[in-house]
Structures are given as C-alpha cells and as structure tokens.
Symmetry: C2
Subunit: 126 residues, 2 copies
DNA sequence: ATACTGTTATAATATGTATATAACAGCAAG
DNA sequence: CTTGCTGTTATATACATATTATAACAGTAT
C-alpha cells in the first residue's frame, strides 16, 4: 500500500494520513487483522515526524479503525459502531449535498457518482 | 435565517459560517439576489469578529456563492461552475464513502440517506 | 454631512500543526 | 538478562492558522 503525502496541500499531514489509511482499508489494500507499519517506520517511509504519525494512529484508534496490540503494534480492527457512523455520515452528506445543490448538480448525478466510486474503488461486502 | 456558531466545535468559526450559509442557500432560506447582513451586522448577530465574517464572505465569493455589490453588499449569486463542482464533489465523496464502507454501511443505505436529505432539506429545482 | 457598505492594514493573542530529543513500560527473541 | 522492537508520554521549539482589536479608506444611499 503506497501512501503519498502532499506537502503543498492545505490539508494537515496527519489528516491526509488518516484519510489514506481509511481509503486503504475501504479499497482492501489493508485487511482486518493486518498490522500497520510502526509509527517510526511509517514516519520514515512517508517522510514525516513520528509524532505526526502517532497523532494519526491515535485518531484512527479513537474512531474505531485500529486497535493497538502491545506485541503487534497498530492493527486494523473495525469497530463498526453503525449508529455513530450513520450520524457522522448524515452530517457530512448534508454539507456536501448543500454545496452540490447550489451548483445545480442533480440528485441523479450524485447517485450515479456514488455508484461509480463504490463499484470501482470500494471493497465489496454488501 | 438563524445561524448558530458552536464555539466548542473543532471546526473553524469561518468554516462553520460558510457551511451554514451554503446550507441556507440550498434550503432556500437565502434566495438568489438576496443580500446577506453586512459583515459588521452578521458579526454582532452571531457573536464573532468582523474579520472572521469577512473571511467567510471572501471564501464564499471566491467559491462562487456570493458577489459583492458596492451598493447592496454581499449578494447571493451562484456561479455554477459545474466542472469544478463535480471534481470537488468526487473528492469529498471518496473519503466519505471510504469511511462508510469500513463501517459496513451499504450502498443502498447511502442512496437512501441522500434521497432523504435531498427531499427533506434541499430546494427543488431538478 | 451622515451613516452605512466592503476592503485593507497592522498588531496582538490564541490555537493548531509539525518537528526534535528523550525517556518509559511492555513484549519477543537471542 | 540483554537487546531491540512496540506504543506512549513529556517537553521544547518553530511555524502556520485563526481570531480579535483598532483604525482607516473609498464608495454609496439618504
């Protein structure tokens, strides 16, 4: 799994790292039970500081994407708290849809784009 | 139109303001051609600084939601650059869908939620 | 002239981000 | 038991961003 950090982006480094790991899981490049590189190793690989990686891992742990095993390090372990995930999804989508609505993007176009992203990039389990 | 700022949120104040104005437009609480309160008045109303409001207005202007009329102040004026809007939408949705996918939220549940948000909150034009 | 617009400039403060160096406790393997 | 790897924590520093404050300017409407 290749992780690329854009140092010119206005998105925080730890945030980019979080998103890319989440997308990696969704795209099945990381599998449940698999260990991530250690904070020090990941830091060296992507060229950022250990603490920045640690912050990303901590957030992912708190959001239920990782668990920490003293022996094996950061392990992919999805805690599918669906209630909370649905609330967050609704909140995200409301802003996203509002923007799209203002720009005259139709509901159908959005549905179509979701199918396209889901079918091409997301692991299939449902 | 009631705008509420959450001072305990980790989202920047100007960002909250941007989002709420965009949602206000999408929900038809603000109409094309309507003037927003002046930066000073909006600042007083929601309890933040004039410059924070000015930043929000500047961003909205740059993103094509407002235009500035010397006489009438900040006026709702949608510049529907659909190409750019679609690119941004795709980028937003990719992260959002990845999160949802990890949490075992199905594609159907997302489609359903989008219909619900769109039908209940968004102005209908399509 | 007065009172509003948006805009700009400057400064001060607070918060968030990123890095550097160092240390600690838990665990595995030699 | 020592060595080397985990995550975690602490502290310090540098930098960027966010927020507020005070002030001024050029338009415009009344």
């Amino acid at each position: 799994m290749i992780i690329e950090i854009d140092f010119n982006s206005d998105e925080a480094l730890y945030q980019q790292l979080c998103n890319q790991i989440i997308m990696g899981i969704a795209m099945d490049h990381f599998h449940e039970g698999e260990s991530l590189p250690s904070v020090r190793q990941m830091a060296e690989t992507v060229g950022i500081n250990m603490h920045t990686v640690n912050k990303a891992y901590s957030i992912l742990k708190q959001q239920g994407f990782l668990q920490v095993d003293r022996r094996r390090g950061a392990v992919i372990a999805i805690d599918a708290d669906k209630m909370y995930a649905l609330e967050e999804l609704r909140s995200d989508l409301t802003v996203t849809l509002a923007k799209s609505c203002c720009k005259n993007i139709t509901k159908d176009e959005i549905h179509q784009m979701i199918d396209e992203i889901y079918d091409n990039y997301m692991r299939s389990f449902s």
